[in-house]
């Protein structure tokens, strides 16, 4: 009430227009009901202020300039708004030429007319009516809304004392509240001016509300950003501290040179000097750039580093120099391996092609043969002959395609495949690479490594071999691939088709003797610390070792046995040495043992015990119904016996001895053939009809299969039916057909060698296999009588003895005749009578 009265008085007292000095304000608007500090420094403004101070009431008009660019000294009438605020100067201090004022906003005024602008602005103004408080619901609502917004704003500011909140909340006069907020918030001159000019309470409040709402929103965003920035900063600060600590630790460990920059720089240097194909360089460049952009702690950093190191390590264009002297190569092959003439010839042919056309695709060879025949060492010799690096990898049991071709880099712990790893190891792109045991590749749900080999081993495709890890084409066409296998069977046809197959059969006894003499014995003597003077093994003894102590196509067991002998001799030598005062050194000094150990066939037993194997053909004579066949195994050849016996009065054909389907069928074919041609072989078909047959093939625990026992089956059955024995010095092999033809079979050399070892001297072979027979070493062949056969009748004529040895009717029954069963019954009756 009193307030109103005072205000009315003020308004009344200035009801008429009056003159007042004017202070132009920049960037700010002065509102009534506020106390504001002002700094006045410009000449014109200071003059206006001094003029105001020299009046009794110390009143000054404050008007905002319309645009920022105009300073207090420059502002003309047009630059100023027409509505401003009359202020009362409450304090004035001079400080270094600037007037510091504290002014209190009183009333709004409107310029009626400008009086002057020099030396200071002066205008005739009219006081505008105060906005009087109206108790209106709308205004009350607006006011409460504003207070609500303020409350929200305060909530965003931490540590605001509750009394501050109270002060704003308890401000009853909405006009004062609005003016206060308008001066406090940075709303911009235009909005502020609009609020100042607002002639009604609700207009003012609406403006305030809108501005405050906008301000609150900005505040909320700001505080959000601030919070985020804060947490971001916390994290990066933490990282920074940890990294500094890590650096300190690395420095302590003396590893500070391997900082990430140094690493990347090293890689870049290597990349720039490396001899890379263009596309590889581009890819490597890209990866390196990515790496440089990554912090060392990023997981990708190390992935890329490993990758780049791999790429840079690979011999993209580095080859070992070609030194190819065919005579030298022949010498090396002869040095390393005894015999194997054909194979050496094949190898030399391949080398000759490489010599004549260095850019030709390297051949891909496949050595097939039993263990211990020297497939792997042949590969080594080839590398030596070519002067190239040698790298061997065993594919046995490999079942994951990724092992060959690598894993894609997306996987954790991804690595390139074995091929690329091997190339990195050898460091050149033209090594001799041996893929051992290619027949023992596995495959499962993870993939089929054999299929990956199809690409690797194809000279047309492997010049752009793409490892999954590298994902870059690598030229494998200079790699000399040699695969080895014990069997051709498990190798898929397309894979076989890509390789030049070279068969290594087993060695004959003579070859083994020579190998032992030239390689095995000298090597074992050396390995066991003996000298040639201390140990001699006679040829007889070696022959006994090969025949009775080992059974193999190769020479591995033989070497072990020789080693065994050498060790035992070494023990004796060491024991008989006089105790010398220097210990071991003195013992190995020369002249320690003068004694020479000569091991002959007789003494073998003393060293190694009794013989471990007996030749398969220990049977000097075969009963009727038994025939000698020859089989091929991974270990070389074997001699096997097929036994047939009649089941008088029984029926059908019983087959035992773990026979496979093909072998069973060939037994059936043999029987059917004999039955249908019974008269031709002087057999009574009635016997076949009324008697069962049992065929057994020992050893019963070893599975056997294949068609090559056909002729042996036929011989055994014919022998049984006719009562003529099969000659015990004869072995046979061959497939038969129902029409009585003999078809060729494989593995002739191994089979014949095994038969020879077993003491057999007559061999019946399919006529079409005669060419294979030429591969049999001369020393063996000349001891053998080889009989070619085109028809089953040829076989039977060759193997059956001319005379019956079993009287007719002893093992068979015929209808009408007395059956063995009747006889049995009679015997039982007799026993009862007794």
């Amino acid at each position: 009430m009193a307030e109103e009265k005072e205000q009315n008085q003020a308004a009344e007292s200035k009801a008429e227009p009056f003159e007042i000095p004017v202070l132009p304000l920049q960037n700010t608007t002065l509102f009534p009901e506020t106390v504001v500090p002002l700094a006045v420094g410009r000449q014109r403004s200071m003059k206006a202020t001094e003029t105001a101070l020299s009046t009794e009431e110390k009143l000054l008009g404050c008007i905002t300039t319309k645009s920022d660019g105009v300073t207090g000294d420059e502002a003309r009438y047009d630059d100023l708004y027409r509505i401003g605020t009359v202020v009362n100067i409450k304090r004035m201090m001079r400080n270094e030429g600037v007037m510091q004022l504290i002014v209190q906003g009183m009333d709004r005024f409107e310029v009626v007319e400008w009086i002057q602008d020099e030396p200071f602005l002066k205008a005739r103004v009219q006081i505008m009516p105060k906005l009087t408080r109206v108790d209106d619901e709308e205004i009350e609502a607006l006011k409460r809304n504003i207070q609500n917004l303020i409350q929200q704003a305060l909530a965003l500011l931490p540590n605001v004392p509750p009394e501050v909140r109270m002060a704003v909340m308890t401000q009853n006069d909405p006009v004062q509240l609005a003016y206060f907020l308008a001066s406090v918030l940075d709303l911009g001159v235009e909005t502020e001016q609009k609020m100042l000019e607002s002639g009604t309470v609700d207009g003012l409040l609406t403006l305030t509300h809108a501005s405050l709402a906008r301000e609150l929103e900005i505040m909320q965003i700001r505080s959000k950003i601030a919070t985020e920035a804060q947490s971001e900063m916390d994290k990066s600060q933490r990282d920074y501290v940890l990294r500094q600590q890590m650096k300190a630790i690395q420095k302590e460990l003396g590893e500070d040179d391997t900082g990430e920059k140094a690493e990347a720089a090293q890689l870049r240097e290597r990349l720039e000097t490396a001899d890379l194909p263009e596309d590889v360089r581009k890819e490597a460049e890209r990866e390196l750039k990515r790496m440089e952009a990554l912090p060392q702690s990023a997981p990708d950093y190390h992935v890329i580093r490993t990758y780049l190191e791999y790429v840079l390590d690979l011999p993209w264009r580095k080859s070992s120099p070609e030194k190819l002297d065919l005579n030298e190569a022949r010498k090396i092959l002869d040095e390393d391996h005894y015999g194997l003439e054909d194979i050496k010839e094949r190898i030399l042919e391949s080398l000759a092609v490489i010599k004549l056309r260095p850019d030709s695709k390297s051949p891909i060879l496949l050595f097939v043969g039993p263990p211990g025949v020297g497939k792997t060492s042949l590969g080594r010799s080839i590398a030596r002959a070519l002067g190239r690096e040698f790298e061997r990898m065993s594919l046995g049991g490999m079942r994951d395609e990724a092992e060959l071709r690598g894993h894609r880099r997306t996987y954790i712990g991804a690595m390139p495949g074995r091929i690329i790893q091997a190339l990195r190891r050898v460091g050149v792109n033209n090594p001799v690479m041996m893929l051992d045991e290619i027949d023992k590749l596995g495959n499962d749900f993870r993939g089929d490594p054999a299929s990956a080999l199809l690409e690797i081993l194809d000279p047309q495709q492997n010049n752009t071999f793409r490892d999954n890890y590298l994902d870059l084409p690598f030229d494998l066409s200079n790699v000399f691939f040699i695969a080895t296998a014990n069997q051709l069977g498990p190798i898929s046809a397309p894979l076989r088709d890509r390789m030049e197959i070279i068969q290594l059969a087993g060695y004959s006894d003579l070859e083994k003797l020579n190998i032992a003499r030239q390689y095995l014995i000298p090597r074992q003597i050396k390995e066991n610390g003996l000298t040639e003077e201390q140990l001699e093994i006679t040829d007889d003894a070696v022959n006994l070792l090969t025949a009775r102590y080992t059974r193999e196509a190769g020479v591995r067991q033989l070497e072990r046995t020789v080693g065994n002998l050498a060790r035992k001799v070494a023990l004796k030598v060491a024991e008989s040495a006089p105790p010398a005062e220097g210990g071991v050194d003195a013992a190995s000094a020369d002249g320690v043992v003068e004694a020479k150990f000569t091991i002959t066939a007789k003494e073998i037993k003393d060293y190694l015990g009794g013989p471990r194997f007996y030749p398969e053909s220990a049977r000097d004579e075969l009963p009727a119904g038994v025939a000698t066949g020859m089989a091929w195994t991974e270990m070389g050849g074997e001699v096997l016996f097929i036994e047939a016996t009649s089941l008088p009065g029984g029926s059908g054909l019983t087959l035992t001895g773990q026979l496979g389907e093909v072998m069973k069928e060939s037994a059936q074919a043999a029987r059917s053939y004999l039955w249908s041609h019974a008269s031709e072989f002087d057999i009574d078909p009635e016997i076949i009809k009324h008697n069962g047959i049992h065929v057994h093939v020992p050893a019963g625990a070893i599975p056997k299969d294949g068609p090559s026992a056909g002729v042996t089956m036929a011989s055994a059955l014919a022998s049984l039916y006719t009562g003529r024995k099969v000659r015990s010095d004869t072995a046979m092999t061959g497939e038969i057909t129902l029409s009585g033809l003999v078809f060729p079979v494989g593995g002739i050399k191994e089979k014949v060698l095994a038969a020879h070892r077993a003491g057999i001297r007559r061999i019946v072979l399919p006529a079409q296999n005669e060419t294979d027979a030429e591969e049999i070493p001369e020393d063996v062949r000349k001891e053998l009588e080889i009989i070619p056969a085109t028809r089953v009748s040829d076989v039977l004529n060759a193997v059956l003895e001319k005379e019956r040895s079993v009287p007719e009717g002893t093992s068979f029954v015929l209808p009408g005749a007395e059956t063995p069963r009747d006889q049995g019954d009679r015997l039982i009756a007799k026993e009862k009578e007794v």
Partner: protein
Amino acid sequence: MAKSINRHFQFLGSSKQVKPSGPLWLPAADVFQTPEGWLVKVELAGVSPEDVEIDIQGNVLYIAGTRKDRSCAVAGFSYHQMEITYSSFEKTLQFPAAIEGARVEHNFENGLLIIKLWKQK
């Protein structure tokens, strides 16, 4: 209080040191109870008696006026520093009992306005 609001609002980015003005200049006043009635002293140095208005309503004494700077009009003077407030003022004083109808006397004494509210005899 206004100051602390101000301080917190400064956080918002406002550089303005604005305070709500609140009531105008409030001169200090002492009130005595005497056997004759009430005695009021108001600190109103430099205020001309003719610029002061006194009013009584019920139990409220209302004093208002303006301090005008009458010494400044001398030629050649100019302010170097100004700390005395020259503006209108107001003061309302509440009394425990109605004072309407009291005999009012006032005079200036050493810059103090003395108001006597004597009970009617």
